[in-house]
């Protein structure tokens, strides 16, 4: 029995579960699908777009830088072209050969003095910050290690300043600076002292390569490198060898762009101190290992970034490499590398590539991505929670009134009409109303079946007693009353002879007689089988009641029943009565008296049909 109940419980679910579980399941599926869509499409695309935009920005900067550097290189080439011819002519005019430059300091000073204006012109045309012309020969007889040359710096490139007001004389004999009224830099020297070839590669590399090659085309030996000056100021330089018409390599001319002017156009907004974005100009031979020389950006300390080489991992995401900055920052950064095409194909320095690297902290670059990801997850989570709460709440909204209804139904008295609380849900309220109506009808029927005799439709014994109790309860003034007990004669005889149906008609016929007198003051009932009882009350005297009883007898005596065929019969009945309150004011006692009187009358009737014994 218990197991069966449990099985039923498994199969049948509460309304709450019926609503909550499937809706929740649908919701979770929808959320899951949506998250899948966001992750696999929106977020993935967003990430790709961020990287693409990042790469594009760096590529734009690279293109700008590349074209600006090539323009400067072009100006240098034109300047160098003129200078080398001028020097050759000057040397020739003075009766020397280009090879005399090597040991003739006087000749060299003369050459430089004559070339100073051309050099300054080239500096101004190239828009560079620095220009130099170095002869591969003595700068002074007193110091033969010093090479002759001039180096001029422009503190304000790109703007016109009259009287060389923006120029600073870094290297070269003072006769030139005095003549041109160029201010000397604090680190000024009359010539160039090179410690070794490596640290002075801007001079030696193009010079030696040109000497090795024997080619006359100096442009092929243009060499881009990094110079650090006495101010610890980095300069990106481009230098070309000066080659005479017979292939004599006698010097180097070059331009430089200092670190302040190198990436000047990069906006403040893009490179503000709150942003870790930085651009690095670095050299590489294999495209994987970079030696950084210049950095533009405010977040990272120049020295700490430039002091270490950068190695790229083999894997990248959309062209972006994840690299660690190393100490002291130890930031994970996104790096994109864009190579600058500064050298011609098959040139001697083709493998020494310069590249612009864009770097930015990964979490900063992807800040929008993370924001969207977190926001969407949070929104989805919050939305799911809200939905769960709502589904729970709505399920409860429906199930609780039903549960309450069930509970109040369980507790309700089956004998009385049920009253149920309104739920304000139409369907449930209609159901409740139906239950209430049903209960009301059922209650009436039960009352009828309990208090009325089904055959005669008179009160049953129980109904009669209830009515009497109600009279007492209601404290009705009964005044003078009478309890009448009736007993049909010969019912058994009629039943036996004419059938129970006729017997029933016999009973109904008498009951109808009594019913005719039913009113507020007359209560009649079928007490059992052939026994009826009537209580009359509210009269002022026994006489009045006697008149009424006489009326009843008249009706009874005038009533016939059909037996069978053409046979009719009068109703034969015996009656006993007792007076209230004269005989007793207790209904049970009164009934007993009346019942005894009836039996007495019945016995007497056997002797005299129409005789009633009165006590």
């Amino acid at each position: 029995m218990t197991r069966k109940k449990e099985n039923n419980m498994d199969k049948s679910r509460t309304i709450f579960k019926k609503i909550f579980v499937p809706v929740l399941a649908i919701l979770l599926i929808v959320v899951g699908l949506f998250m899948l869509f966001i992750n696999s499409y929106i977020l993935k695309n967003l990430r790709t777009n961020i990287f693409a935009a990042y790469e594009e920005q760096i590529a734009n900067h690279k293109n700008y830088l590349e074209s600006s550097l090539l323009r400067k290189q072009n100006a240098l080439n034109q300047g160098a072209e003129q200078v080398r011819w001028k020097i050759e002519e000057l040397v020739k005019a003075k009766g020397y050969k280009l090879s005399d430059i090597r040991y003739n300091a006087d000749l060299n000073q003369d050459i430089l003095d004559n070339m100073a204006d051309s050099i300054i012109d080239t500096l101004s045309i190239s828009d560079a910050t620095d220009i130099f012309l170095i002869l591969d020969g003595y700068g002074s007889y007193d110091n033969t290690q010093m090479r002759a040359g001039i180096y001029i710096r422009n503190s304000e490139p790109g703007t016109y300043v009259p009287n060389y007001g923006n120029l600073i004389y870094e290297r070269g004999i003072s006769t030139i600076s005095k003549r041109l009224k160029l201010p000397l830099d604090i680190y000024w020297q009359p010539g160039f002292l090179f410690e070794d070839e490596e640290s002075s590669d801007f001079f030696f590399r193009p010079l030696l390569k040109a000497k090795e090659s024997g080619s006359l085309n100096f442009r092929n030996f243009a060499y881009w490198t990094y110079i650090i000056n006495e101010r610890d100021f980095g300069v990106l330089s481009c230098s070309v060898p000066l080659i005479g018409s017979k292939g004599e390599v006698f010097g180097v001319m070059g331009i430089g762009i200092n670190e302040n002017n190198l990436m000047k156009g990069y906006s403040y907004n893009g490179l503000n101190r709150n942003s870790s974005r930085a651009y690095i100009l670095a050299k590489t031979t294999d495209g994987l290992n970079y030696k950084p020389y210049f950095i533009k950006g405010e977040y990272y300390d120049k020295a700490s970034i430039l002091s270490q080489n950068i190695s790229l991992p083999s894997q990248s995401e959309n062209g972006v490499f994840y690299v660690n900055t190393g100490a002291p920052y130890n930031d994970e950064i996104c790096l994109n590398s864009q190579e600058l095409k500064l050298y011609s194909y098959n040139g001697p320095f083709e493998n020494e590539k310069w590249a612009l690297l864009g770097i930015q902290k990964t979490d900063e670059l992807l800040a929008n991505y993370y924001f969207v990801e977190n926001s969407l997850s949070s929104i989805m989570l919050i939305a799911a929670l809200i939905c769960i709460v709502c589904v729970f709440w709505f399920s409860r909204f429906i199930s609780v009134p039903i549960q309450q209804m069930v509970s109040s139904l369980r507790k309700s008295d089956p004998n009385t009409p049920i009253r149920l609380q309104k739920t304000y849900i139409d369907e449930i309220d209609e159901l409740a109303e139906s239950i209430e109506n049903l209960s009301a009808r059922l209650s009436k029927r039960i009352e009828k079946e309990r208090d009325y005799d089904i055959l005669t439709n008179l009160l049953s014994r129980r109904g009669f007693e209830n009515r009497l109790r109600q009279l007492v309860k209601r404290q009705v003034d009964l005044k003078t009353g009478a309890m009448l007990v009736w007993d049909l004669d010969d019912l058994k005889l009629i039943n036996d002879n004419f059938g129970h149906c006729i017997g029933d008609n016999y009973l109904i016929a008498f009951a109808n007689c009594l019913k005719k007198f039913n009113c507020e003051n007359v209560i009649s009932a079928r007490r059992s089988g052939d026994e009826f009882v009537t209580f009359i009350y509210g009269y002022d005297s026994i006489e009045e009641i006697e008149i009424l009883i006489e009326e009843i007898w008249k009706v009874v005596n005038s009533t016939y029943i059909d037996l069978s065929g053409h046979h009719r019969s009068k109703i034969s009945i015996s009656m006993g009565k007792a007076w209230y309150p004269k005989d007793s004011d207790d209904f049970d006692t009164l009934f007993l008296y009346a019942d005894s009187a009836m039996y007495e009358a019945k016995n007497k009737k056997k002797r005299d049909l129409r005789n009633v014994i009165t006590r």
């Binding site: 110091n143 503190s155 300043v161 600076s177 005095k178 000024w188």
Partner: protein
């Protein structure tokens, strides 16, 4: 009731979500303003100024949406030329910048053309009170209005290659006190010239100052304010004194100017003493490099600027202030914001220490603040920069401060004086050297007469 609280709940949730969705990545500045600025700083000053502008653009400027774009015109002469050309809308001239460095002569010209904004419109009395009132005076062309805000000031001091001096002085029995007067300088220079067989001892940047300050110190300014306006009052005696103290020794080769600046001449060993602006301090070298490429280490020391014997200690106050051109209210406001930031004590002191200038908000504790700053930069007592700062500050605080009187033709007249104390003297020097030795004394006399007559006629207003 339930319904209402439910609606309220949803509204609150909506607000919460809206709040969540507003991110704070990046600072959105409405209407950023770019302010252009022209100045004349060069070399070390330019580096210090550029660094400060960079600092402003990344901090205060960034938060207020102001970007300052500065451009150096190389020298005050070039700057004045460019400003005047722009103001007069000359062919090929650039648009006037929003801010420019200027002395009162140029600024007054622009103010009369109605091109300058009144700085006092954007600054409270309280703010202006912080500035040295003497410096502010320069920019008050009319009462209660201010057209130049002082940003950094300099004065002149004497710089000496003490290494070479010591050898010379020992041999001749001189001590440093002889260098405290112009008369002493002349005497020493003559001795040095002889001793070195023709080398100059002394040189001077801003040669016009010698005459302008000299006249002031000797009791009668060249240009004086009278009821009829500015008048040229050239006291012949003073002019002669100027001639004998500066022009004559220059022609005789005791004094000289070879490179662009006298610091260059000390570097190349052409002179060993220079009267120059405190702002040139960073250019004095630690070694002399001769034409031959030979170098030797030297120690450069700084001394007070010499005075004429028996005169009151006088210091020239120089260092241009900054004017703001009339434009939109936003631009003018942005320009003043920058100037206010630039002259904030900490920024101003930082720039001044880097560049040999002095702050414009002078108060009792300024000396201490500058000392602290110097020490924080590891610039200790005895170093050239430290002594330069202290001596310069002393000079500004305790001397009779001289600033040229402002008038429209002021800068033109100054140029004339400069020319008569430089190029004209060079011509005289060349002619003197070409003159046979026996005729040289007579030549000098003639030269003075010619020189003074021409000068007077050119300076006449």
């Amino acid at each position: 009731m339930k319904k209402k609280s439910l609606i309220a709940l949803f509204l609150l949730f909506g607000i919460f979500l809206t709040g969540c969705l507003q991110n704070n990545i990046g600072l959105v500045i409405e209407k950023p303003v770019t302010v252009t600025l022209w100045h004349y700083y060069n070399g070390q000053q330019k580096d210090a100024f550029d660094a400060l502008i960079d600092e402003f653009n990344h901090t205060e400027g960034f938060s207020k949406g102001i970007t300052v774009k500065a451009e150096s015109k190389g020298s005050i002469e070039n700057l004045e030329e460019s400003i005047t050309a722009s103001a007069e809308e000359k062919l090929g001239a650039e648009k006037l910048p929003d801010i420019f460095s200027t002395y009162s002569d140029t600024a007054i010209k622009l103010q009369q053309m109605g091109l300058l904004a009144d700085i006092s419109d954007y600054m409270t009395e309280e703010e202006l009170k912080e500035y040295n009132p003497y410096f502010l005076e320069e920019g008050r062309f009319t009462k209660d209005r201010l057209f130049i805000l002082p940003v950094a000031k300099a004065t002149e001091l004497l710089y000496l290659n003490k290494t070479d001096w010591d050898i010379f002085a020992e041999e001749h029995g001189y001590d440093l006190s002889v260098l405290s007067t112009w008369e002493g300088i002349r005497e020493v220079s003559e001795a040095y010239h002889k001793w070195t067989e023709g080398k100059s001892f002394f040189g001077r940047d801003a040669a016009a100052n010698f005459m302008l300050v000299g006249f002031h110190q000797l009791g009668s300014d060249i240009f004086q304010k009278t009821n009829d306006g500015i008048k040229l009052i050239l006291d012949e005696n003073i002019l002669e004194k100027i001639w004998t103290s500066y022009c004559e020794p220059y022609i005789l080769g005791y004094y000289g100017a070879f490179g662009r600046f006298r610091s260059d001449d000390i570097k190349t060993g052409d002179i060993i003493a220079a009267a120059a602006s405190t702002s040139s301090v960073s250019y004095y070298p630690q070694e002399v490099t001769l034409e031959s490429g030979i170098t030797y280490p030297i120690e450069v020391v700084v001394l007070p600027l010499p005075d004429f014997e028996g005169t009151k200690k006088t210091a020239v106050q120089q260092g241009a202030g900054m004017s703001v051109t009339k434009s939109s209210t936003e631009k003018e406001k942005a320009a003043i914001e920058f100037l206010k930031w630039f002259t904030l004590e900490e920024n101003n002191i930082g720039f001044c220490v880097d560049s040999g200038y002095f702050p414009v908000k002078t108060n009792e504790r300024i000396k201490e603040r500058m000392k602290e700053k110097l020490i924080s930069m590891n610039i200790g007592e005895g170093s050239l920069v430290y002594e330069n700062t202290m001596l310069g500050l002393e000079s500004i605080l305790n001397s009779d401060l001289y600033a040229p009187i402002a008038f429209e033709e002021g800068s033109t007249k100054r140029k004339i004086i400069t020319e008569y104390l430089t190029d004209r003297l060079e011509i005289c020097k060349d002619r003197y050297n070409e003159t046979p030795i026996e005729d040289r004394a007579g030549f000098l006399e003639t030269c003075y007469k010619e020189w003074s007559a021409n000068l007077i006629s050119e300076l006449e207003i």
